[in-house]
């Protein structure tokens, strides 16, 4: 725990005894030292530790976004009067509670499949940053447009816990039906009713769509695809990233993917907010294209037929896989897109389009399961963007084992049937 920051000057002043024209220091005057600055003492070591993002090959630090550690944030929050935090008791996570928010910041999240995506968490992180900006005291409202993909899941407790950990003080579920204009009407009444200081969207999919609809409905400028966000300014690129514009964070903005750090300090409350009083208050009629939409149907992605660049989960076979029937069955059962190393593609065991790597496809998937792949540099280049890597390899010293978050030193030919069996039992 950080001690308060020392103030050597103040200390010296207290120890100074002015006597007969000579200035003397009374070193023995220890008790007088409490003239602390009140600011906490910086702990560079801890700051570095907090910005450590990867410790597999060599240490990598990301100091572009300063982030407080959980403990620091907790201590901070106790200092602020508008914020009350439950005391930290060991073994039990603290909860950050903002009873009377000074202002609101909306974070519009998609929560597809009832799960916050990486991008959703970044949107919440950005909103959190804006809520804590300046004097702080703002509350983050996670806005979920129900009827989007998985609005119903948003009502589960499970989900709200996730939202709290991601930095949401409040949760607002909008009932706007499935149509985009319905959603924008609900959004509009929420904005008009709650007057948030900022509304942050993701620059992707429905979030991006909703942001623009809202901007047009409100007649208010949208600051799209923010690339850099601090408490003082929001910056976005334009003209093919040759120019940029920086502003004080505007009211409506969308944020680019991987541009804001997710919130990682102590969980927030994620209290359900009822729009009840506001629901009618907005009253603005939806800009009437509801009637134009005749039907809506969601077609889930079929991982087996998705292109490698689009999928979120790849199961990949290398030279260490010999049973390709089992491999294909496994990919289907895991609902993952099959991939392969070049050696496998060269041998014609998998199509060329399945090749992962520098000369194949560079993935943007969340998860990569590598079976019998050594992890040559050209191959690893293809999976730099994968957050979760699982490796199954007989060689403890393979580079892929080194790269993996879950590394299993075992024979792929034996693990595959075991996985299939387990999945079969699960009825997947």
């Amino acid at each position: 725990m950080s001690r308060p920051r020392r103030d050597p000057r103040g200390e010296r002043a207290t120890k100074t005894i002015t006597a007969a024209g000579r200035i003397r220091l009374d070193v023995a005057l220890r008790a007088a030292r409490a003239a602390a600055s009140g600011r906490p003492r910086r702990d560079p070591w801890r700051e570095w530790a907090a910005s450590l993002v990867d410790e597999t090959h060599r240490k990598r630090y990301d100091r572009s976004q300063r982030q407080m550690s959980r403990e620091e944030a907790a201590r901070f929050s106790t200092v602020r009067d508008t914020i009350e935090a439950t005391a930290i008791s060991p073994g039990q996570p603290a909860l950050r509670v903002i009873e009377k928010p000074a202002f609101l910041v909306f974070a519009v999240v998609e929560a597809a499949g009832g799960r916050l995506s990486r991008f959703d968490r970044q949107v919440l992180g950005a909103a959190r940053l804006l809520a804590d900006a300046g004097d702080g005291g703002g509350a983050v409202v996670a806005v979920i447009a129900a009827g989007a993909t998985a609005g119903d899941a948003a009502r589960g407790d499970d989900h709200e816990t996730g939202l709290g950990a991601a930095g949401a003080d409040r949760v607002l579920v909008l009932e706007g039906g499935a149509s985009p204009s319905g959603r924008s009407a609900a959004m509009l009444s929420a904005v008009e009713g709650l007057s948030p200081r900022h509304v942050v969207f993701a620059e992707d999919g429905d979030g991006a769509d909703l942001a623009r609809r809202l901007s047009v409905c409100l007649g208010e400028a949208l600051f799209p695809a923010v690339e850099h966000l601090t408490a003082r300014q929001a910056v976005r690129a334009l003209r093919h990233a040759k120019a940029e514009i920086g502003l004080a964070p505007p009211r409506l903005m969308t944020i680019g993917e991987d541009r804001a750090k997710p919130y990682e300090a102590i969980p927030c409350e994620a209290r359900r907010l009822d729009l009840g009083p506001f629901a009618g208050a907005g009253g603005t009629a939806a800009r009437g294209d509801d009637s134009a939409i005749l039907s809506v149907e969601i077609i889930p992605g079929d991982p087996a037929r998705l292109s490698l660049s689009e999928t979120d989960f790849v199961v990949s076979a290398g030279n260490g896989v010999s049973d390709f029937t089992a491999f294909r069955a496994l990919a289907a059962k895991l609902r993952a897109t099959p991939g392969a190393s070049r050696v496998v593609c060269d041998a014609g065991l998998m199509p060329r389009a399945a090749q992962v790597g520098a000369s194949g496809t560079v993935l943007s998937a969340d998860c990569y399961l590598a079976l019998g792949i050594s992890g040559a540099p050209q191959h690893l280049q293809g999976i730099v963007g994968c957050e979760h890597v699982i490796a199954v390899n007989t060689d403890l010293h393979a580079a892929m084992i080194e790269r993996a978050g879950l590394a299993i030193v075992a024979d792929a030919q034996r693990v595959m049937p075991a996985l299939l069996k387990l999945l079969g039992e699960a009825g997947a």
């Binding site: 993002v53 990598r60 990301d62 976004q65 597809a112 993909t149 985009p180 204009s181 992707d204 999919g205 623009r212 901007s215 047009v216 007649g219 400028a221 949208l222 600051f223 799209p224 695809a225 690339e227 334009l238 003209r239 990233a241 040759k242 120019a243 514009i245 920086g246 991987d258 134009a292 939409i293 005749l294 039907s295 969601i298 077609i299 889930p300 992605g301 991982p303 998705l306 979120d312 895991l334 993952a336 998860c367 963007g385 994968c386 957050e387 979760h388 890597v389 199954v392 403890l396 084992i401 978050g405 879950l406 299993i408 030193v409 024979d411 693990v415 069996k421 387990l422 039992e425 699960a426």
Partner: protein, 256 residues
């Protein structure tokens, strides 16, 4: 089904020359599948750059004369409004989801739809004629390869997503033969003051590259998670647990 493709004043990412935006080239190929004679509509200084659309499958191109830097929405809206009143009114107005090389706000189609009072659907990757006359089935791109299939009554504005099928290849002779009509700008309609260009009051300055967040992982469980020589069953268990813990997939009840 008469289709109009909006062509923006795009700039090439490397050379900065006027060019046809890649998204709009995709929009043209979607349009050409619905309309044997899709037309392009561009408001701006000239046809340089956008005329490439003719080489990618447009049959004709209308260019509304507009001074450099002027807001194209009123001119486009006026032109389309007039066209919508006519007999062979366009059913579909296609656009790219973002401009390229300009302000890149992606607001123009929304402002236009608002001015025309048309519904708008974003991020189309496939279009086909609906069963009922005057309807269109739009497949919208969603995360993880999912698609939202929306049937919409026309006329409508639809924006195109980068995952739409690649454009038809460019043929110089088709561009040369394509017909370009230069039209004076009609009286502007609609108010677009609100949306603005997204630049707000900010001044443009040279771009400074900022790193994206690094995606690295596996540290969810904290330490490096290495298992040497587990039984296959145990290994399988570990893998599924990891997948579920990290929210990659759910496989029902795997606890036997």
């Amino acid at each position: 089904m008469k289709t109009v493709v909006l062509l923006s004043d795009a700039r090439h990412a490397i050379s900065g020359r006027a060019t046809l935006s890649g998204l709009e080239a995709r929009a043209i190929s979607l349009a050409a599948a619905l309309d044997p004679a899709p037309r392009g509509l561009h408001a701006g200084g000239g046809a340089e750059g956008v005329s490439a659309g003719l080489g990618h499958g447009l049959q004709g191109l209308d260019v509304l004369d507009l001074p450099e830097g002027a807001d194209p929405v009123p001119a486009l809206a006026a032109h389309l409004q007039a066209a919508l009143g006519k007999n062979d009114a366009p059913g579909i107005v296609l656009a790219g989801r973002r401009g390229e090389g300009g302000l890149e706000t992606g607001l123009v189609p929304y402002l236009l739809a608002d001015a025309l009072g048309l519904p708008i659907l974003a991020d189309a990757v496939a279009l086909r004629q609906g069963e009922a006359a005057g309807t269109l089935v739009v497949d919208q791109a969603m995360q993880k390869g999912a698609r939202r299939r929306v049937t919409i009554r026309l006329p409508a504005v639809v924006t195109v997503h980068p995952l739409a099928p690649p454009p038809r290849p460019f043929a110089y002779a088709k561009m040369r033969r394509g017909e370009i009509r230069f039209l004076p700008t009609a009286e502007a309609i609609g108010d677009t003051a609100g949306g603005g260009n997204g630049s707000g009051s900010g001044e443009e300055r040279p771009h400074r590259a900022r790193p994206k967040l690094m995606r690295t992982g596996g540290t969810a469980a904290g330490a490096h998670n290495l298992h040497v020589g587990p039984e296959p069953e145990e290994a399988a268990r570990l893998i599924l647990d990891y997948l579920e813990a990290n929210g990659i997939r759910r496989y029902g009840d795997t606890r036997g």
